[in-house]
Point group: C2
Chain length 390, copies 2
């Protein structure tokens, strides 16, 4: 993720010649294609990775209303039989019940082991359909067609799939790599602005982890990225390239893939304590607040300069994202509840917490053995005083 | 599986020096230990593969009544923290609901990624706990402590895990290898005779697949194997060695691992059409009838001699196992229903059936593209005439 393309370098991206990021994982390697109108061309490209396969499309009702018809037309054109399973939009579908529903619907359509599960939607659909594809007949082919910015820059790439348990987010799932990812950047035009901003938080994350240059690029081009056009494609391409590199190094998260969790330990706890209620907090907003907290906690621990933490929150705020717990409507939980919620996260090892902390922008690192008591003290200062809660 | 040990060769098998069969799968390799009283020694051995891990024991109420206490004592002795999740005995627990229940109970016990799921029971518990271990936090350590003969010779080895869907058996699951398998042959003493016989069917299977010599050995030593003692240990050792060899060649069943499904395509359909009702048909009985059908269908197709098919059914019958559909109490389904039930099996590819057929005892092979119409005609002859149904 070192050389930022100059505008002229990415002017050639079109539906027929999209940007391509290879994810190199030996015999599980695949390409991520990024560009406008890829959904209209999906049938041909799916047929190339799964010749003759029947397709079980999994989507949600909102996404279906906008993007299902062109996908179906394109599958028809490619001569691929297809069937559709539609779930309700929102985190609630990533449940045991949603999993059973999707699996049984795909089985009822008589999909066979060599057939293909096609996830058309945001991260919720991708994670749910992905876990179903991993589990059905112990593993079916999976194609990700991410339609939210968050899914395009993060969840559709890298093979993590999961559902939520009442005990916590993403606690039940599988590593199951897709065979192809098509990120149709034009599909983002129908995305609600709030959801676009939420995805933007994950874009920023890649800069914060290890790429100051990308962060600076975003500071400069944020308006253009949000406006659409080639800067948007380029931003997504850079994010995907960053993720692909990490995943290729550490597919099963035994090492530095954990860096991608920057902002997520705090973020997941926030989501949990707001009951996964998307009207109060969506995932990307939780990550935005979580990254802000991670930087401020790094300052609190004397690891990072206050200026860097300020610069992070200023950029997120400029993008319209929340950066403090006080911004969450109806927040009531205290520091103990936060600690408790974090203790159930996967990033816990033998009772001590693992956080992603930072020595500065682009200088994040895995901090194991973080002492809960110090986090508790930090959070007490962060939490809005009783009287001021929104 | 070539050299049958003479009795003197296996006289040394004891709790402290059990028979050991290595399963060679690169960095997923593990040992299967076979011998009496291994449960009493389990703590020490589990601690060796998962030092300091907390253990989430999954078992069923029947098995717990007999074998939980010694296991817990042994874990205590080894200083391993443990917790227990108990499900109802029987195939019904291998469901979406059972999966959610086991996952949530293990999460509630705050097991972490490096901790250990311990499956104590038959194939139902092994498959269910195995799928939970595969999925929890996207993969936890798994130890199999099989207590049924079927689980010791088959389901605990090789990494297949699954639950059932209303649409068919084992359709939702994962490949997840255990880190250790301890087959305590003394635990079989509490197994119901009918369940022991059901496991015996899977023992016979290994002879039928590719080892006439083992089949002959079983014809000679069946009484001793059923009676307990060293012949039993030796029979289990040979079966596990046969399975380990197949699994090492073809972990993900893209090739000849499918041979292990001998009798299972018919058998699963029989189980499905009897509503997985263990009072009418248990899994191993379905396999016994299924293997008999596979041999008779092979005769029907002119592939195998009638004498070999007769010899197979004679041996199964001598072991107290059913060998025809007519033996199932209350059977009513017709040939079409059988074909329909088989079409949902995983062993289906682009509409045509895959069966394991045989040219003789020890000469099984994968027959792809079996024409449904020919199977239907064969089954019409096999099915009991309306008036004679049990
Ligand atoms: N697997 C991973 O590696 C990974 C990484 C990050 C996040 N996630 C998961 O992703 C999920 C969040 O993803 P998300 O933010 O995409 O949520 P989402 O799937 O719920 O999508 C957000 C909303 O936008 C709608 N939407 C999506 N695409 C649209 C479009 N093109 N037009 C109009 N509406 C559209 C959806 O219907 C939904 O209401 C969380 O469950 C999170 O845990 C997974
Ligand atoms: N994963 C695989 O590779 C694989 C292979 C073959 C079969 N299977 C699965 O295994 C299951 C059948 O296994 P099973 O026959 O062991 O069934 P099971 O687990 O239901 O056990 C049979 C019965 O015996 C009882 N039991 C078990 N051990 C006992 C003991 N020591 N003392 C007293 N009672 C005991 C159980 O409570 C149960 O009632 C099926 O679901 C089948 O699909 C899986």
């Amino acid at each position: 993720m070192s050389n930022p393309a100059s505008p002229t370098e990415f002017e050639t991206v079109t539906a027929t010649s999209p940007a391509v990021v290879p994810v190199r994982l030996g015999d599980r390697s695949y390409d991520v294609l990024i560009g406008p109108d890829l959904l209209r061309d999906a049938g041909r490209r799916i047929a190339a990775v799964a010749p003759g396969a029947a397709c079980g499309i999994v989507t949600d009702t909102t996404v279906a209303a906008h993007h299902l018809a062109p996908l179906q037309a394109s599958l028809d054109e490619a001569g691929l039989r297809h069937t559709v399973v539609t779930v309700a939009p929102g985190e609630g579908s990533k449940s045991y019940a949603g999993f059973a529903e999707v699996c049984d619907a795909l089985l009822a359509a008589r999909l066979e082991r060599g057939d293909c599960v096609v996830a058309l939607g945001g991260g919720v659909v991708g994670d749910l359909a992905g876990f179903a594809a991993a589990s059905l007949k112990r593993g079916m082919t999976l194609v990700q067609l991410p339609t939210s910015l968050l899914a395009q820059v993060d969840s559709s790439v890298g093979g993590k799939t999961a559902i939520n348990s009442p005990l916590g987010k993403n606690l039940v799932g599988a590593f199951h790599q897709p065979s192809l990812v098509l990120a149709d950047t034009a599909s983002l035009d129908t995305l609600a602005p709030r959801e676009f901003r939420a995805g933007y938080a994950e874009l920023v994350k890649y800069g914060l982890i290890d790429d100051l240059d990308f962060f600076q690029w975003l500071e400069r081009y944020r308006g253009a990225v949000c406006g659409g056009g080639l800067e948007r494609v380029e931003a997504i391409r850079r994010a995907v390239a960053a993720k692909a590199a990490v995943v290729a190094r550490d597919e099963f998260e035994t090492g530095d893939r954990a860096l991608l969790n920057l902002g997520h330990t705090f973020g997941h706890a926030l989501e949990r304590l707001t009951g996964y209620d998307g009207t109060r907090l969506v995932h990307g907003e939780g990550v935005a607040i979580g990254m802000s907290l991670a930087f401020r906690y790094s300052v609190h621990e004397g690891l990072c300069s206050g200026q860097d933490a300020e610069r992070v929150t200023a950029h997120l705020r400029a993008a319209g994202l929340p950066t403090s717990i006080g911004a969450i409507p109806g927040w009531t939980a205290d520091a103990d509840a936060m600690l408790d919620a974090m203790a159930q996260d996967k990033k816990v090892s033998r009772g001590s917490l693992t956080f992603i902390l930072a020595r500065g922008i682009g200088q994040s690192f895995i901090a194991r053995g973080v002492v809960p008591e110090r986090v508790r003290a930090f959070l007490r200062d962060e939490l809005p005083p009783d009287g001021e809660r929104a």
